[in-house]
Homo-oligomer: 385 residues x 2
């Protein structure tokens, strides 16, 4: 089945800009730049449907009136095809890391931008991503205050619209489909990288625009890494295999992760994996609108610790998802905020000893008075092939 959920319409993109402008007014910010990169594209995708490649990008939003998409010198035509923001401005600061000079090409400077977009307080979303050299170029030309504006865009992005929820459901369906294709084809002797290639071919054939992040399959000792990349190591019988997959669909990304073993896992390996599965199920049950996020983290970590595996915990049991498979906010024992209806998360149970590790992970939608809606559940069990 090829995907058929429509992309977000222009009208919903326009609403997002209007919401940001309303929040800007509340924070006395009269110009906002939302900065994005190839690997961290969440803001430019959310506000303009634009995912930079090679170059970087920014969405410039005045206190009222039309926004502009700021891009690098080579992306003009690409941005014209993809951007939902019609005004596109090429600037040298957004060029690629190979640093071409483009002799003979004259592009607007930050001085030109601030002459047109007058402002007293300039908010920057993507504060932790913005390169120092761009900050310096802005600071030279901007006479007012420059402030961190991440909270403004994030507070809007965190609650998903009905269409966004459908796009995430479709992403999860494609993620699950890629897991299914891998479970059908994976065999001892395949390389970790080859397994990822099978997943990518399956999801793109079914309608994914791309993987949602840098996917991996790891095996044996390589499974101890919470964050990984596949290697040329061949998968062997009896060892832990970690599948970390996920599809991007019209901008929206989820993940599905499962551990599996060829042959018979030892009883301690099996018991540890079952604990991880139970902890994910517990997380999905606890995540409900109105619940304090730290309570979810404390209860799940308490459960794992009671069972004797406390020292295998590396981070909180869930994190936001949307344009990124891992997006603000993270659910941790320090998270004092309340879960809200239509927030979306990855329940993400990674546990590891120094010999092997594994992850159970699925996307969920927070609901009221009931467990989270699970967007994937395929073989959430100790998989033995």
């Amino acid at each position: 089945m090829i995907s058929a959920i429509p992309p977000v319409p222009d009208s919903e993109f326009a609403e997002r800009i209007t919401k940001v402008q309303a929040h800007m007014a509340g924070a006395a910010i009269d110009l906002l730049l939302a900065f994005s990169t190839e690997s961290e594209p969440f803001y430019s995708r959310y506000l303009a449907d634009y995912w930079p490649n090679f170059e970087t990008a920014g969405v410039l939003i005045p206190s009222s009136g039309d926004p502009a998409l700021l891009i690098g010198p080579e992306s003009g035509t690409y941005a014209g095809l993809k951007s939902r923001i019609r005004r596109i401005i090429r600037m040298p600061d957004f060029r690629e890391s190979s640093q071409p000079q483009y002799p003979g090409v004259t592009l607007p400077s930050w001085g030109d931008i601030f002459t047109e977009f007058k402002s007293d307080t300039f908010g920057i979303a993507g504060w932790d991503l913005l390169p120092h050299f761009i900050y310096c170029n802005i600071e030279k030309e901007f006479k007012g205050a420059i402030v961190n504006a991440d909270d403004i865009v994030r507070s809007i992005m965190m609650i998903k619209s009905p269409l966004e929820l459908d796009l995430l459901r479709e992403s999860a369906r494609l993620s699950e489909l890629s897991m299914s294709a891998v479970l059908d084809k994976i065999k001892p002797g395949m390389t970790e990288t080859q397994v990822v290639g099978i997943a990518v071919a399956a999801m793109t054939e079914a309608g994914a625009e791309s993987p949602g992040y840098s996917l991996w399959c790891t095996s044996g000792k390589n499974t101890t890494a919470a964050i990984g990349r596949p290697s040329l190591k061949k998968i062997e019988r009896g060892e832990m295999v970690h599948l970390q997959l996920g599809a991007k669909y019209n901008g929206y990304s989820t993940a599905i992760a499962r551990p599996l073993v060829f042959g018979t896992p030892g009883p301690s390996m099996k018991k540890f994996m079952q604990l991880g599965c139970d902890a994910e199920n517990m997380t999905n049950d606890l995540m409900r609108a109105g619940v304090r996020a730290s309570d979810v983290a404390r209860k799940v970590h308490g459960f794992i610790t009671e069972r004797g595996y406390g020292d295998t915990i590396l981070y909180g049991p869930a994190h936001g998802c949307g344009h990124m498979e891992c997006e603000f906010p993270f659910v941790e024992t320090s998270s004092s905020w309340l879960l809200e209806k239509n927030m979306t998360f990855q329940s993400d149970m990674f546990l590891a000893t120094n010999k092997y590790g594994f992850r159970f992970e699925d996307a969920v939608i927070v609901r009221e008075n009931q467990p989270a809606e699970e967007l994937s559940s395929l073989r959430r069990e100790v998989i033995v092939l």
Copy 2:
């Protein structure tokens, strides 16, 4: 045939550090940070064989003695498995963009770093990538001068060792193999994304660690974009199709790009494509050790302009390759430097009107007194299927 070129040995990584330290002494820099991200990993891959995922990274090199790899809180085990630098330091500034807090985890600060790694002049490579917030955190704790050190690492990276050349040859073989797989299987009615999935599955089955960059296939109007991403559009007969592929092998990336048409291209389309093919061949012939890079760009652009297509040029005819498919330096009409033996480039001929565009692209190695060594050449012609 599965790839069998060995990865770069630890000894060659150690030599790279020693070379950087020698260049640091010449520039009176006594501590260097080479910063990298998931999408711009060239420095950390070159100096430590480390490609961050989700988080960022830095390689810290003192004037003498052992370097350290600086990573985010979740990548400790991953870095332990991959890094050729043994000393690994987890720091909060290298965390992922979802901004987890990791309550209860205490990690070293920049103050701790500068207490151990004493320095008067701190050089930063990856100047245009370093986030402003990290720069501020460094500046608060560092008492000396902070300077741009890109030239130090780049000047070493630009000339490839014999093993690096073999790794690039293998990357190009895998890139060509993926092109071949696509040309065997591509059909009208396939989506652009599906075509990319076929390429990824073919290259990873044959030994690639991953695609070398965000690959694309575009068709029709979408081919006008110099930088692109594949969409769910279906390929049609008679329209331009742009294949932009490339494999990463043990850290090294090349690209191969070809235009093709199903059915019969019109005579003007055919003539335009043939010009692009001729211009790439001319570039490969001109790129020789001792030649000024700007002369290559001027001659190739002159040739295109004489044929009447000058307004279809967007950038210079070649750019460096190595850890990135597009890496410093770029060959432009302003490039006053001389080509050297064992520099490696992508000859990259992208031309577009407002109706369609195309690219011929292949990796090459600069040689003395003869045309560049071409690492791929598969069907460098006007491909009609």
